[in-house]
Symmetry: C2
Subunit: 358 residues, 2 copies
């Protein structure tokens, strides 16, 4: 069976403001100390498993030019520009009917475009196991990350630790749970039965389309219309119309939480969802004072700070646990434990119509 | 007797880096929430007592153009450009022989150029009392600030609280003491016998010159040579040579601490020496979160911060007790309780020869 990948790259990445902007979100930035942007690394990481012409990217029209620029070898027609933001279920469905139309059926690796994998060979090994599991069980397979901390920023997957499936290292999923509070997260971690939901999936196109047909029948009918139109002169118009009508819903909520035949592979391949500026500290070595510094910085009595300099010299004096990000038109100074509040700055900017800074 | 003023404006103001620079120190900046720079306010404040043509400014050559620009009505020849930095005693001596040459003798008000006085009418009243005291006692008169806190950033003046002098509200000075530690400062405050040393003096030119003759005789001889040369073609050369030879010493250490006939006027006229960025908070009303903010700032969950924005928007998120100063080529982010460490940044910049940032 043909191996394909669908990379989801429509996110806005507000949590990396002011470096990420609406016009240049996180996945198009080299945030992780490498020369490559995150979407470039995501593609490079799977190339040993998937041919470039079988990699599809779901995004919105605004980012088409960025993807062409950053991934010039990717066929232009493999960029699926969603005409409306309808969350993940519709875009994954569009990917699935695209594969079905082209190959009859295909193995689909579904990946976010803005995660880090520090051990890519291990990651590909897990993907191979996941593909065999998806093929042999005919089920939905997800990669669950073995949690190291009671992090409240992730959804969790509870799995049946008692019974292996017999298929590779896959286990049956008991349930998906939303982001817990700290107390609950601690219990999850202690129980050994929970994994972080990575948002990475492996399944056959036919499998996920059957699930969509059953659980989101309205969307399925619209996806069939798209499928019929592929390659015709009505394609763009049909996609536009179908997306306008489709129910906006996530694949987790719309399918995964309700499906029976779901498997998880407990994994550990140096995964990081790069969810906020705090990730920069996890992904880059700090200096002897625990500062992660980039740019023209003089620091005095300063520790555990994350500083991304811009064009000017920055002097940090007596600072602790602070994030500083300097760009041409905006400067962020944020206490580490308030990183989650950066979105409030964007709310203020939106409220006063300062779109140039968003 | 002619009333004159000598304003000392040679300071570098490193503690207001990066807004103050070697080429643009504190006294030439409008730091106190007014339109006027500090030296402009200093001159304006004494104009009801002293004619503009009797105001002299001691500075160094580098600041000559700045003074001409900021004080265009001041006679050019009243700017005394010290050819070498020799602390306050030589420059005050130069001022005194200049007055003696011109007027025979004169009352001299000696003032720093970078202090704030929030009640200028009260200040002028104290100066009048000081002048009468200086005239009637033939002594050295200084203004002592009634301390409100046990501040360790000032020198203190102990005075004889028991015996008034009979002259205005002046008291006899017992001794000058250097900046104390906190414990000692608390004792000073509790005793009621100590005042802050403001560095503001009033005396007759003849009085201070007699003191210099007695306590710094080498300097006095050189000052006499300057006095002889004033108005001759040798003047500049003589000043240059005399300054090269003069002992570098402060007026406090060289004269005040050793003199007998010293009086102080305990004063309270809203004085602030604007000694660091923390002064900005004392001199400007904060917003409801206690932030003193200037510029294009969005703040979220931020309190008690001092932010001087530059050209770009600054977002402050979850920050407390932090000083932020943005300029075209340098940005300072400093914990309030580390404001005294800003000079270490300048040491680093000097060590790596980044003179453009000093």
């Amino acid at each position: 069976m043909k191996t394909t990948a669908l990379i989801m790259a429509g996110g806005r990445g507000e949590r990396f403001w002011p470096m990420s902007r609406k016009s240049m979100p996180k996945q198009f930035l080299p945030l992780t100390g490498t020369e490559k942007t995150m979407i470039q690394s995501t593609v490079e990481r799977i190339l040993p498993l998937v041919n470039m012409e079988d990699i599809y990217i779901a995004t919105n029209r605004e980012y088409f030019a960025l993807i062409r620029e950053q991934l010039p070898e990717l066929p232009e027609e493999n960029i699926l520009c969603e005409p409306a933001a309808k969350n993940t279920a519709p875009c994954i469905g569009w990917g699935a009917v695209t594969m079905r139309k082209k190959y009859g059926d295909a193995m689909m690796i579904v990946l976010p475009s803005d995660h880090v994998v520090r051990q890519p060979a291990l990651f590909r090994g897990v993907l191979k196991s996941a593909m065999r599991t998806a093929e042999e069980t005919g089920g939905l397979v997800t990669l669950g990350i073995s949690p190291k901390t009671p992090d409240t920023g992730y959804g969790y997957i509870q799995y049946d630790t008692e019974e292996g499936t017999g298929f590779e290292s896959a286990f049956k999923v008991k349930r998906f749970v939303e982001k817990p509070n700290l107390e609950t997260a601690k219990q999850y971690l202690a129980s050994g039965e929970y994994l972080w939901n990575s948002g990475m999936f492996v399944w056959k196109a036919s499998t996920i389309l059957n699930e969509i047909k059953e659980k989101l029948p309205g969307n399925y009918e619209l996806l069939e219309k798209i499928e019929e139109s592929i390659g015709t002169e009505n394609e763009a118009e049909t996609v536009e119309g179908a997306f306008a009508l489709m129910q906006s819903i996530s694949i987790d909520y719309g399918i995964m939480e309700k499906a029976e035949n779901v498997y998880v592979l407990p994994s550990s391949f140096g995964w990081d969802d790069v969810g906020s500026w705090l990730a920069v500290e996890r992904l880059n070595p700090g200096n002897e004072m625990g500062n992660v510094i980039k740019g023209d910085i003089v620091s005095v009595g300063t520790s555990r700070c994350i500083v991304q300099g811009g064009k000017k010299m920055i002097a940090m004096v007596g600072m602790e646990d602070t994030i500083v990000v300097d760009t041409n038109d905006a400067l962020l100074i944020c206490a580490k434990d308030s990183a989650g509040e950066i979105k409030k700055v964007l709310e203020v900017l939106r409220a006063v119509n300062r779109t140039e800074l968003l």
